[in-house]
């Protein structure tokens, strides 16, 4: 049919469809005469219109395909999954199907709910995560949390979860069917909050709180379902994928998800607080805060992110929209309805409006900091006490203040200024005092949850961790601006700064490789501690913390190559700790800090090339460590520190030409280590990496003593631990650095025992890692030293091979050129450090040495060129 003809047909059909039956008949009869062909076509199309009915094409294609797929799926009813016999389908939820099942091997035939998760989840991944989380989830033992019992994968590979079977209805419907009043709804909701708070304390965020996940039993007990499951199913939860395009699927219910969830930002406890807020809004008003019914997901998401919800009291014109049938406005007098609506509105206006809206704030940090705080505010409301939530706190406080100081304000212009200044202070301090608890708690929350969730041994989280560190710093800075004279707040701030600094760049632990940032944070903490110390010199706890801050700052300065200032900070720390020891020599904390400070001083002196002084410090550390261990024989930290001190002494002795004495002391240290870890089989990461260092050093010393077999045994031990640690957390700069040190040392030993070919391989591995570490943290001088050494050693091994080579001239020349290129790379780094004044004293001779080696290469190349047939 031509488009023109079709247009004619379309018009005619449209007319025919819109005519009432009798007129239609006339219209068709007239058409039959005028254009019989058109008439046949229209009759035919009218018939198919009739036949098509209302259904045809009115269900979206996706849904048809989906139902089609579901129909093809073999049923699970009657099947057995693990220990569970599936009885019947009891629902299809957002994630898949829920079945009633019972434990087949249980004589009581305990009934359970079995949820099969459908979707393109990588089921082995989900299963791994489930195994990882199962312990935690199974330990959630709270009367308002449905117990997770078991889980696995079906024959098709779909994951399933087995849960306590809850016989109940969603909280919104329950409230509606039982016609609960506002107070009863609040009390029900409080139980939900207590369950959420309980889980939050165990580091579990629900992520998908909605009425459908809160069932109320016939006894009126609300139970939260699916705790922790959203995270298990969320592939981005652990990998830290912060990809804004969300290539990964996120379990998310747009109407209940928080703005940060929709935007794909880190999820915290505050996200659950938000979802709880939506649930409460609905419970109190019967309306969704954004009126999502019938809206597209896109519009809901937009509203959640951009639109401020209306006050609950303003949306209940006709009473709650969820009153049970039969009690609605139709069956009662409108006057009664109006009275009831007014009563409801009154009940919500003020406190409850503010409470609900506070939970629904767009910015996570402006919400209640925890479900507990949310619940407490509701309790305060129920007990008619003032609530925390306020629409506009400053104006509220100002109005109270002005009322109290009316006289002063009126008296004179000067008086007004004074009173206004006082007002500003009052507002400010009141705000700080009130917000302080929240903000610091929120920060702690953020650090614990975000850092815990994303940092802990998960690859690829650097970006999110940086974000967290930055956000935490922003908070701390804003807090410290107005912290005033409150000692405990100041102390909290200092502790928090140290914690952020640790995340940014603390050596020996998982860190972000941001040395400059860490130094800045530590310095902020130090400044606060100094002020606290000046205002109360008798505060011994603060003095210890001050010493610790000096140590942290010193450590970071040393790392960045500023050894003079590092040693000054360590000296400060030392005199503080010594004064503390004078007051209380039996304190474990003081003792540990003393060993640590001496050790660090030893390190920095070593780097400054002052080996005898360094040895003295390490010996002092040994002495302090032995004394400490005598008073606290079981303390693992003391053991570890003493072992390290022994090792440092042994190391220095070996370096200064006493390898045998060094080895002896070293073995003493190792004995302490072994003893420690025997006591603690689940040794921490710090301990494990301690072993890497110990075995490497032992291997080095044994190499020096010519004991090849034992040397490689120890180096191999170090290597396997380092590989394990690094594989567990590839983003961890320290683990990478340890791994590179192992390659480097194995290379060194191979060179010493004459295997330059294998040494080249291992040096090369070290170089690759160190290039990456150095590029990732440009302020880290230690990384530069490591890389420069690796280049030099790699070049040296290549020189050995070139010198030995009997290959053709051109090939040998290529080898020398290759070795020379690595010498140049090394030289460039050493010279750069010398130029910046960061070249360690112990490495002071490196540039000249490398230059000599380059000259050797050039001489060899010159010789070869003379031999070459084509000069």
């Amino acid at each position: 049919m031509t488009p023109e003809r079709w247009e004619q047909v379309s018009e005619a059909l449209d007319k025919a469809l819109h005519f009432p039956p009798t007129q239609r008949q006339d219209y068709l009869a007239e058409m039959a005469k005028r254009d019989p062909e058109l008439h046949r076509e229209i009759e035919s199309l009218l018939a198919s219109h009739q036949e098509a009915g209302a259904e045809f094409l009115n269900t979206p294609a996706v849904q048809i395909s989906l139902e089609d797929e579901a129909a093809r799926r073999p049923t699970l009813i009657g099947q057995r999954l693990g220990a569970y016999q599936i009885v019947e389908l009891i629902g299809t939820g957002g994630m898949g199907e829920v079945y009633r099942a019972f434990r087949a091997d249980d004589e009581y035939r305990m009934q359970v709910a079995l949820k099969v998760v459908r979707g393109s989840h990588d089921s082995s991944f989900v299963f791994q995560r489930f195994k990882h989380e199962r312990q935690i989830l199974a330990s959630l033992d709270h009367p308002n949390i449905a117990h997770l019992l078991d889980g696995g994968t079906t024959g098709e590979g779909a994951p399933y979860f087995v849960m306590e079977l809850i016989d109940g209805e969603p909280i919104d419907q329950y409230s509606k069917h039982n016609n609960l009043g506002t107070r009863d709804r609040l009390k029900l909701f409080l139980q939900v909050c207590s369950a959420v708070q309980y889980a939050h304390q165990r580091l579990i965020i629900h992520r998908d709180i909605k009425p459908g996940n809160i069932l109320v039993t016939v006894d009126g007990v609300p139970k939260l379902l699916d705790f922790g499951i959203a995270k298990i199913l969320d592939p981005s939860a652990g990998t830290g994928t912060l990809d804004p395009t969300l290539t990964q699927f996120r379990a998310l219910t747009p109407g209940y998800a928080s703005p940060e969830q929709i935007r794909g930002e880190p999820i915290t406890t505050a996200s659950d607080v938000y979802s709880l807020g939506v649930v409460l809004y609905e419970l109190l008003t019967g309306h969704h805060p954004y009126r999502v019914a019938g809206e597209t997901a896109e519009r809901v998401a937009w509203a959640v992110c951009e639109v401020e919800p209306k006050k609950p009291s303003s949306v209940v014109h006709e009473g709650r929209s969820d009153r049970p049938n039969g009690l609605g406005s139709a069956s009662r007098g409108s006057a009664q309805t109006a009275r009831e609506a007014e009563r409801l509105r009154k009940g919500l206006r003020g406190d409850l409006d503010n409470i609900v809206l506070m939970a629904l704030r767009k910015e996570p940090q402006r919400r209640y900091s925890s479900a507990e705080q949310f619940a407490q505010d509701i309790c305060r409301h129920l007990e008619s006490l003032p609530v925390i939530a306020r629409k506009d706190t400053a104006r509220y406080r100002a109005s109270k203040f002005v009322a109290r100081h009316k006289a002063g304000l009126a008296a004179s212009a000067g008086g007004a200024v004074i009173v206004l200044a006082a007002l500003v202070t009052t507002l400010y301090e009141a705000n700080i005092a009130r917000r302080r608890f929240n903000d610091v708690r929120l920060l702690a929350n953020s650090m614990i949850f975000e850092v815990h969730d994303s940092v802990a041994k998960v690859p690829g989280t650097t970006a999110s961790r940086k974000l967290i560190a930055q956000r935490s710093l922003d908070y701390l800075d804003s807090l410290s601006h107005g912290a005033g004279r409150d000692r405990s707040l100041q102390a909290e701030l200092a502790t928090a700064y140290v914690k952020v600094g640790d995340v940014q760049g603390q050596s020996y632990y998982a860190n972000l490789g941001d040395s400059a940032g860490a130094l800045a944070s530590y310095r902020k903490a130090l400044t606060i501690r100094e002020k606290l110390s000046a205002s109360d010199p008798g505060d011994l706890a603060n003095r210890l913390d001050l010493a610790r801050c000096h140590n942290k700052v010193g450590e970071m300065l040393a790392k960045m190559g500023d050894r003079a200032n590092a040693s000054a900070n360590y000296q400060e720390a030392l005199s503080l700790v010594e004064s503390l020891m004078a007051q209380d020599s039996s304190s474990l904390n003081n003792g540990n800090e003393l060993v640590l400070t001496q050790t660090r001083l030893g390190y920095v002196l070593e780097d400054m090339g002052k080996l005898p002084e360094a040895l003295a410090r390490h010996r002092a550390a040994v002495a302090a460590g032995e004394k400490l261990l005598a008073t606290h024989p079981a303390d693992p930290l003391a053991c570890h520190d003493l072992a390290t001190a022994y090792n440092n002494v042994g190391d220095l002795l070996a370096k200064s030409g006493n390898p045998r004495e060094g080895l002896e002391i070293y073995r003493k240290g190792l004995a302490v280590c072994e003893w420690t870890s025997a006591d603690d089989p689940n040794s921490t990461q710090a301990n494990s990496r301690g072993w890497v260092e110990d075995y490497v050093r032992l291997g080095e010393m044994l190499t020096q003593l010519g004991n090849k077999k034992e040397a490689f045994e120890n180096l191999q031990k170090a290597m396997s631990i380092a590989q394990r640690l690094s594989a567990a957390d590839p983003q961890n700069a320290q683990a990478r650095s340890d791994l590179s040190a192992c390659y480097q040392s194995i290379g060194d030993s191979q060179v010493a025992f004459g295997d330059a070919t294998k040494a080249v391989e291992n040096y090369h591995r070290a170089v690759v890692i160190r290039q990456e570490l150095s590029a990732g943290d440009v302020h880290n001088v230690e990384a530069q030293v490591d890389l420069a050494s690796s280049y030099a050693n790699l070049a040296q091994a290549k020189v050995m091979l070139a010198a030995r080579s009997r290959a053709a001239v051109a090939d040998r020349a290529a080898r020398w050129l290759d070795a020379r290129s690595y010498l140049e790379k090394s030289l460039k780094l050493w010279i750069g450090m010398r130029h910046n004044g960061t070249l360690p004293g112990s490495e002071a001779s490196q540039p000249d040495e490398i230059i000599r080696k380059i000259a050797t290469c050039d001489a060899e190349l010159e010789k070869l060129r003379n031999k070459s047939p084509h000069p």
Binding site: T2, P3, S10, L46, T245, T296, C305
Partner: protein, 214 residues
């Protein structure tokens, strides 16, 4: 808001987008591309299509494996979800959203028809025969033979591109009458009229095809 022939001609080239294309792209980029496209820059379409396509395909597969229940799907039509994932909520005005939905609906059609095609091929290869009961069940449900519909829709587009587009937006894109009218910039009454006519014609075309083929 013309989805001209250029789109159809370019289709084959980007049918198999590289994995990971999307992951390197930010939602800002999608937004920017849409705006450029709207401004008449056909080049930007080249960059945009693979992004939307791969996201839709991922979503469609996800859903087809049974991720969502029916009621969530109603309000979370895939294109909306794709839109949500690719474009920052609220960042685009109606015209470019229209572009996105037009594009996405067209791609949805291709994906679902392709899925159905592979399904039916698999059925033949696997040798599973539908029982009479099952066949009866299917014909009474709202099931549509997507392959037949696809053919019929192509024929319809030759007679009336607008009607074909309306069906694409409504049936494959999951859009309401109101949304379709917004995006096509015609009155809802027009959409409703054209929709009714197109449905009647398509129903007949499909059933006639089935009659001939079986």
């Amino acid at each position: 808001m013309e989805l001209g022939d250029t789109v159809l001609i370019q289709k084959r080239g980007w049918l198999t987008p590289k994995e990971g294309d999307l992951s390197e792209t930010s939602s800002n980029q999608v937004t920017e591309l849409l705006l450029k496209w709207k401004g008449g820059d056909q080049e930007s379409l080249q960059a945009l299509l693979p992004l939307v396509y791969s996201e839709l395909r991922r979503l469609a597969q996800h859903h087809l494996r049974g991720e969502r229940s029916h009621h969530t799907l109603q309000s979370t039509a895939l294109v909306h979800e794709a839109y949500l994932r690719m474009v920052k909520p609220g960042s685009l005005r109606i015209e470019s959203r229209g572009h996105f939905f037009a594009l996405a609906s067209q791609l949805m059609r291709e994906i679902l028809v392709d899925h159905a095609r592979r399904r039916s091929a698999g059925k033949r290869d696997g040798g599973t025969r539908m029982t009479l009961d099952e066949a009866a069940e299917l014909s009474t449900s709202k099931t549509v033979d997507l392959l037949a519909l696809d053919d019929a829709l192509s024929q319809l587009s030759e007679m009336s591109p607008r009607q074909s587009r309306i069906v694409e937006l409504r049936f494959f894109g999951g859009l309401s009458i109101a949304e379709t009218s917004e995006f096509l910039e015609v009155s809802p009454a027009t959409v409703e009229r054209e929709w009714a006519v197109a449905r009647a014609w398509l129903f007949r075309a499909i059933n006639r095809t089935e009659g001939h083929d079986s």
